[in-house]
Amino acid sequence: MGSSFRFRDDTPHEEPAVTLDAFLEQEDATAVRLEAGEDARQLIPYLDRLQLIEISFPRFRDGRGFSSARVLREAGYKGELRAEGDVLIDLIFFMRRCGFDSIVSEHSLNPVDVDAALNRYHHVYQNATDNAVPIWKLRHG
């Protein structure tokens, strides 16, 4: 069971992710796991050092991780941003737009369905954390 998808070209980071509390106590950890409800902004001072941030989706309906991801990307985080947990196919498009570039789902997701879900919408209405050009910009050049 389970499946993972990675949308980065660099070598996967091997160091296991530690809890937020453990991370804040260590000086050299480079991978951290944020539970839903933990404050992503606590990581902002350490973004240069971090190479992997894993954000937990304990239940697919719990969308806090979307905001956490954007907060980190907006603060300049460039490392791997992983969504982990109850990740269903229909969340992945939104996750990509919020800056996630790695998915570890507890479900066996069919790669063909994932691909279809990621390529269904050719345009988007609003800016987010990806490079998609919003429709209003296409309309006005």
Partner: protein, 544 residues
């Protein structure tokens, strides 16, 4: 009205295919209902008592004749020949098959309609003043902003798995016809001293089991920054709302727990972040959208005269017609509340009649209202008599707007799987009790609103007289509430005391009304008298 371009059309078309694929995966067994439910809800598809129910969005309550005819076609082809207008300017079909739902969405997409985000924990269809673009008392047409926000909030990647539903309303008049402050986010367009357009912003309203009236969070927000501000509100809520108890996840609960001042502070901080990201739509895009809402080519030099020689017509004009901003024109309200009927229900044939009227007599423009009626917004006064005759022929000429028989009622236990008691039979019984027109006119403005459970879809918290159906040991029981308002004088109704059975609640309403007639001073509406004398005299009348 707004016209889709290639991008808008591609978006709804892709949505249809996405839902077709999701439905296929569900029927094939790749998903269980727990996983499928949030997806079907984001397309307005509920499982109700008797079948699936589909809620179609009518963005800001505006539709044209082609769209209305399509709604009629769908009612005939996929449902049982009728539809139901809701308290949020949507239309619901009650007898839908899951396997046909993707086809219905495909039909809707051919007339630039959809069911996107009409349910589920998402940013819902944005409601607006049903007189927008016609009202004599508005600052400007609020719909361009509603359309801009419709696009901005459609498939928003950060806010598609919110803690709960999120409802927005936009108006631009002092008179509130949209139950503004009962929304999670309420926007009223104002102009500042420099003449610039902006929003008065209210946050944290909502009905349900824990009602709150939205509080003023911003006196003046420059209009072009609205999307940043809205996203700031949503992010504060999305990050900090509880996720452990679905009944405590609406934004109103977070506002209440943090306190208005602290919530405002956090929103302002997040607002600065969003401003810096440059996510606001540019002026050019607003201008593009607004161009679709330029006023229709009103004729000039029209007569203001209305021939009132037919007394039935004169009565209808007095009740159903509102002032228009253009000389010689009027706003005509169509009642969907015939005595003993089902409020908000309309047959496919009636939809076609209304569509024809809109096309011929109202610049192809039609509105749905949150009180479950319809509006022809731009009718020449000279055409009113013809319009009325056609409506009368179709059984749509009741003259009861805002009167005691213009009852809001949710579908209740006759249709809804959440309901504890039936709402419609109570509404019908009240209508029959007060059917006499002279009596209705004597009572004057009196807004009765009935919900069949605490979720309050029938707006009982905002009723001058509210009725809440509850389950009392397996039988239907009804609580009476007094003193609510969904207008600019927003207030929350209070429970009078112990509940009643179905016959008892109608008697209690009648005793309440009779006590009002005894107590009122000249010119006082029921609500005015209630506010002057308080609950006690009514309790005495109701409970003896």
């Amino acid at each position: 009205m707004y016209k889709y371009d290639q991008y808008d059309q591609a978006m709804v078309d892709a949505r249809v295919e996405e839902f077709r694929d999701q439905t296929r995966r569900r029927i094939a067994g790749d998903m269980n209902d727990d996983q499928f439910k949030p997806l079907r809800l984001k397309n307005g598809l509920y499982l109700q008592l008797h079948a699936y129910m589909l809620r179609v969005a009518i963005p800001y309550g505006t539709l044209n004749s082609q769209q209305m005819r399509k709604l009629a076609d769908i009612a005939r082809k996929y449902d049982r020949g009728y539809g139901h207008f809701t308290t949020r300017q949507n239309l619901q079909y009650n007898w839908i098959k899951l396997e046909e739902a993707p086809d219905i969405l495909a039909e809707l997409a051919t007339v630039e309609m959809h069911a996107i985000q009409t349910s589920g924990e998402s940013i819902r269809n944005i409601s607006a003043d049903q007189y927008a673009g016609a009202a004599a008392d508005e600052i400007c047409d609020p719909r361009p902003w509603a359309e801009l926000l419709r696009q901005a909030t459609t498939f928003h990647p950060e806010f598609s798995y919110l803690p709960r539903k999120f409802k927005i309303a936009v108006i631009s008049a002092k008179t509130d016809r949209a139950a503004l402050r009962w929304h999670d986010c309420a926007l009223r367009i104002v102009r500042n001293e420099a003449g610039e357009e902006g929003f008065e912003v209210y946050a944290g309203g909502g009905m349900g089991r824990t009602p709150f009236i939205a509080y003023p969070i911003r006196d003046f927000l420059p209009a072009k920054q609205i999307f940043s501000y809205l996203q700031a509100i949503l992010r504060v809520w999305n990050l900090h709302a509880r996720r452990d108890n679905i009944h405590k996840q609406r934004m109103k609960i977070l506002v209440h727990e943090l306190g208005e001042e602290e919530f405002r502070r956090q929103v302002e901080e997040e607002f600065q972040n969003f401003l810096a990201l440059g996510t606001d739509f540019p002026q050019a895009e607003y201008d593009r959208i607004a161009a679709y809402f330029t006023p229709p080519p009103f004729e000039t030099g029209l007569s203001e005269e209305i021939d009132r020689s037919d007394p039935d017509f004169a009565l209808w004009v007095d009740r159903q017609v509102a002032p228009h901003k253009a000389p010689g024109y009027a706003i005509a309200n169509i009642s969907l509340k015939p005595i003993g009927g089902i409020g908000g229900d309309i047959t496919a044939d009636q939809m076609d009649v209304v569509a024809d009227l809109a096309e011929r007599y109202s610049f192809d423009d039609l509105r749905a209202t949150h009180v479950q009626n319809l509006v022809l917004p731009h009718v020449r006064k000279a055409d009113l008599y013809t319009v009325w005759q056609v409506l009368r022929e179709a059984g749509l000429a009741d003259a009861n707007l805002d009167l005691v028989t213009d009852v809001i009622a949710c579908p209740g236990l006759d249709y809804c799987s959440l309901a504890n008691a039936r709402s419609i039979p109570v509404a019908q019984e009240i209508q029959r009790r007060f059917a006499d027109m002279d009596r209705q006119l004597d009572i004057g403005e009196l807004k009765i609103k009935i919900s069949g459970c605490i979720n309050a879809c029938g707006h009982h918290h905002a009723g001058h007289i509210g009725i809440l159906g509850v389950d009392r040991k397996g039988t239907e029981n009804y609580q009476l509430l007094l003193g609510g308002s969904g207008a600019e004088d927003t207030s929350q109704a209070k429970i009078t005391g112990p509940g009643f059975d179905e016959a008892g609640i109608v008697d209690a309403v009648e005793r309440t009304v009779e006590r009002y007639r005894d107590l009122r001073e000249p010119g006082e509406r029921f609500l005015d008298t209630y506010r002057r004398v308080g609950l006690d005299p009514f309790k005495e009348a109701i409970y003896g």
